[in-house]
C-alpha cells in the first residue's frame, strides 16, 4: 500500500515549518552554539543572529526591536503580559477586562489572578463573536489596570475591532494587550496605529518552529518579569536563548508578513470555494463566526444532528486533518466556550467542524474534501436519533 495522501486543514492548530525556515535553523544550529551572553566572538555571532531576528519580528508588527522579547511561545507571552502587568500595577487597582472567547492561555491566567485577589470582567460577544467597543468603555472602572482582547479568534476566526478597543484603552491610560497568535500574517498589524501596548506571538502558527514566541512590550509599560534568573532579553526574561528557534521565527515572520494582501487573496479564494461548496452540498449547516470580519483561512461550521469527533474520525480515515469544538475531543464534557459564547445550543456546538487552510493547500484538496465531507455527514446523520431525514429536509425548505 502506498503512502496515503494527507490533506492538512488544521493550520490554526499548528503549521508545518517552511523548508527555508528549517534550512536557516539547521545552519544556525550548526554554526551558532556560543552562549549569546558570553563575550567572545562566537558568542557575539549568536547574539547578532538573535538581534537580526528581533528586528524582523519588530518590523512585522511596527515596533522597535527593543520592544520585542522572545519567549517559549504564545502561552508564555499571554501569561507574562497578563500576570506581569497585573502584579506591577497592583497598587493602582485590581480590575482586568478580557473577553469570553479568549484562548485558554488568557482565560485560565485571568482565572488564576481572580484567586489572587483580582477581579475580572469577561466581555460578552455578539452571535458573530464580535466585541462591542461600547461594552468595553462601560466596563472600565478606576481600578482597571489591564485590558486583554484577542486580535482574532482561534476557533471561529472572527477579527475583533482591535484599533478601536486600543483607542479606548489609550484614552483611559490603561495598558492594552492583544493575543495576536492567530492574526499575524493574516491581518496587517501595526502596534503604533492600532494602540497596542502588549502583543503575543507564536512562531509555529506562521510556519516557524514550536516552542518559540515573542511578546511585544511598548516602551514605558509597567510590567513584572515572569521568568526570573539570568539577565537575558534585556533583563526581562531569563534563560539561555533558543537561538535556532529564534532565528527560525525571524525568518518565518518575514515570509508571513511580506505580502499579506496577495497571500490573503489566494487563501480566501480557496477558502470560499470550500465554504460555498459545503453550504451548497450539505443541508442544515451553518457558518460560525463573522462572514466578512474573519481570518481568510478559517471555516467553522456546525452540522446539525451529528457530533464532531465522529466526523473527525471519518475525515482522518480519508487523510483529512481537521478539528472540532465538541467536548468529546477536549477531555471535558462542555463543548467549546467560544461556540457557547456566540449563542450556539450545546448540541449544535458539539457538531462543529473547523477547517483552517494554509499555504500548501490546493484546489484539488478542497475538491476532495467536498467529495468526502457530504458522505461523512450523511452517514452519521443516518444513524443519528436527532435526524428525522426527509421530514427535516421539508421543514427547512
Amino acid at each position: 500500500m502506498g503512502e496515503k495522501r494527507i490533506i492538512y486543514l488544521d493550520h490554526a492548530a499548528t503549521t508545518p515549518v517552511k523548508p527555508s525556515v528549517a534550512d536557516t535553523m539547521w545552519s544556525c544550529m550548526n554554526t551558532h552554539f556560543g552562549n549569546p551572553s558570553s563575550i567572545y566572538r562566537i558568542a557575539r555571532e549568536s547574539r547578532n543572529a538573535i538581534e537580526t531576528s528581533r528586528a524582523q519580528v519588530a518590523k512585522a508588527v511596527g515596533a522597535e526591536p527593543g520592544e520585542i522579547f522572545f519567549t517559549s511561545g504564545g502561552s508564555e507571552s499571554d501569561n507574562w503580559a497578563i500576570k506581569g502587568v497585573a502584579f506591577a500595577n497592583r497598587k493602582k487597582g485590581n480590575h482586568i477586562i478580557t473577553s469570553a472567547i479568549e484562548h485558554h492561555a488568557v482565560l485560565h491566567t485571568c482565572q488564576y489572578l481572580e484567586k489572587e485577589g483580582f477581579t475580572v470582567t469577561y466581555l460578552p460577544v455578539d452571535h458573530y463573536g464580535l466585541i462591542d467597543p461600547a461594552d468595553l468603555e462601560r466596563a472600565i472602572t478606576e481600578k482597571t489596570i489591564l485590558i486583554s482582547i484577542m486580535y482574532a479568534n482561534n476557533e471561529i476566526g472572527t477579527i475583533e475591532p482591535v484599533a478601536e478597543l486600543g483607542a479606548i484603552a489609550r484614552k483611559h491610560k490603561i495598558p492594552f494587550h492583544t493575543d495576536a497568535v492567530q492574526a499575524i500574517g493574516n491581518v496587517p498589524i501595526d502596534v503604533r496605529t492600532q494602540n497596542i501596548d502588549l502583543l503575543s506571538l507564536s512562531a509555529h502558527k506562521f510556519y516557524g518552529p514550536k516552542g518559540c514566541g515573542a511578546l511585544y512590550i511598548r516602551k514605558g509599560t509597567r510590567i513584572d518579569n515572569l521568568i526570573h534568573g539570568g539577565g537575558q532579553e534585556n533583563r526581562r526574561r531569563a534563560g539561555t536563548e533558543n537561538i535556532a528557534a529564534i532565528v527560525g521565527m525571524g525568518k518565518a515572520i518575514g515570509l508571513a508578513t511580506a505580502d499579506i494582501e496577495w497571500h490573503n487573496t489566494q487563501i480566501r479564494t480557496l477558502r470560499d470555494r470550500l465554504l460555498n461548496g459545503i453550504l451548497e452540498k450539505i443541508p442544515h449547516a451553518r457558518l460560525n463566526g463573522h462572514p466578512e470580519k474573519r481570518l481568510p483561512s478559517n471555516i467553522n461550521i456546525s452540522f446539525e444532528f451529528i457530533e464532531g469527533e465522529s466526523m473527525l474520525l471519518w475525515l482522518d480515515d480519508e487523510g483529512i486533518c481537521a478539528s472540532t469544538g465538541s467536548a468529546c475531543t477536549s477531555g471535558s464534557l462542555e463543548p467549546s466556550h467560544v461556540l457557547l459564547a456566540i449563542g450556539l445550543p450545546h448540541e449544535v456546538a458539539h457538531g462543529s467542524l473547523r477547517l483552517t487552510l494554509g499555504d500548501a493547500n490546493t484546489e484539488a484538496d478542497v475538491d476532495f474534501v467536498l467529495e468526502v465531507l457530504p458522505k461523512v455527514v450523511s452517514r452519521l446523520r443516518a444513524m443519528s436519533p436527532l435526524y428525522k431525514g426527509e421530514k427535516e429536509e421539508k421543514r427547512n425548505v
Partner: protein, 143 residues
C-alpha cells in the same frame, strides 16, 4: 487513541437503525452532553431476537452502541441485563478513561429498553444494581 476494535465498530457499526414496532425502547443520554443513544429490542419468549440502535455521539458512543447490541442479541433478558458497561468496553478491547461513560450509556440503554418491555408486559421493572450505572450521573454535564 481508540483500539482497532473500537474503530472497526465505529466504521462498520452493526445493527444501525430502528425496529418497526419494537418490544422495548431505551432512550438515554442528552444532546447537551453530546451523546444520545436509542436502543430498540425485539423480544420473543424472553429472548432478544433483534437489537438495533441510533446514536448521536462520538466514535466511542457509536462503537459502544454497536457492541452492546451485538452482545445482547440471542440472550435471555436476564442474561442481557447482566451485560455490564465493562463487558461492552472489554469486548471493544478497552476505551480511553474519558470515554468509559459511553459504555455506561450503552448499558443504561439496554436496561431501559428491557424495563420498557417489562413495563409494557405489566411486569415489575428491574432495579439498577450495578454501581457503574450511576457513574454516568456523576459525569453528566451541566444543562
Amino acid at each position: 487513541m481508540y483500539s482497532d476494535k473500537v474503530m472497526d465498530h465505529f466504521k462498520n457499526p452493526r445493527n444501525v437503525g430502528e425496529i418497526e414496532n419494537p418490544d422495548g425502547v431505551g432512550e438515554v443520554g442528552n444532546p447537551v452532553c453530546g451523546d444520545i443513544m436509542n436502543i430498540y429490542l425485539k423480544i420473543e419468549n424472553n429472548i432478544i431476537t433483534d437489537a438495533k440502535f441510533k446514536t448521536f455521539g462520538c466514535g466511542a458512543a457509536i462503537a459502544s452502541s454497536s457492541m452492546a447490541t451485538e452482545l445482547v442479541k440471542g440472550k435471555t433478558l436476564e442474561e442481557a441485563w447482566d451485560v455490564s458497561n465493562k463487558a461492552v468496553a472489554d469486548a471493544l478491547e478497552g476505551l480511553p478513561p474519558i470515554k468509559m461513560h459511553c459504555s455506561v450509556l450503552a448499558e443504561e440503554g439496554i436496561h431501559k429498553a428491557i424495563n420498557n418491555y417489562r413495563k409494557k408486559q405489566g411486569l415489575p421493572e428491574w432495579e439498577e444494581k450495578n454501581p457503574h450505572s450511576h457513574e454516568h450521573e456523576d459525569v453528566t454535564c451541566e444543562h
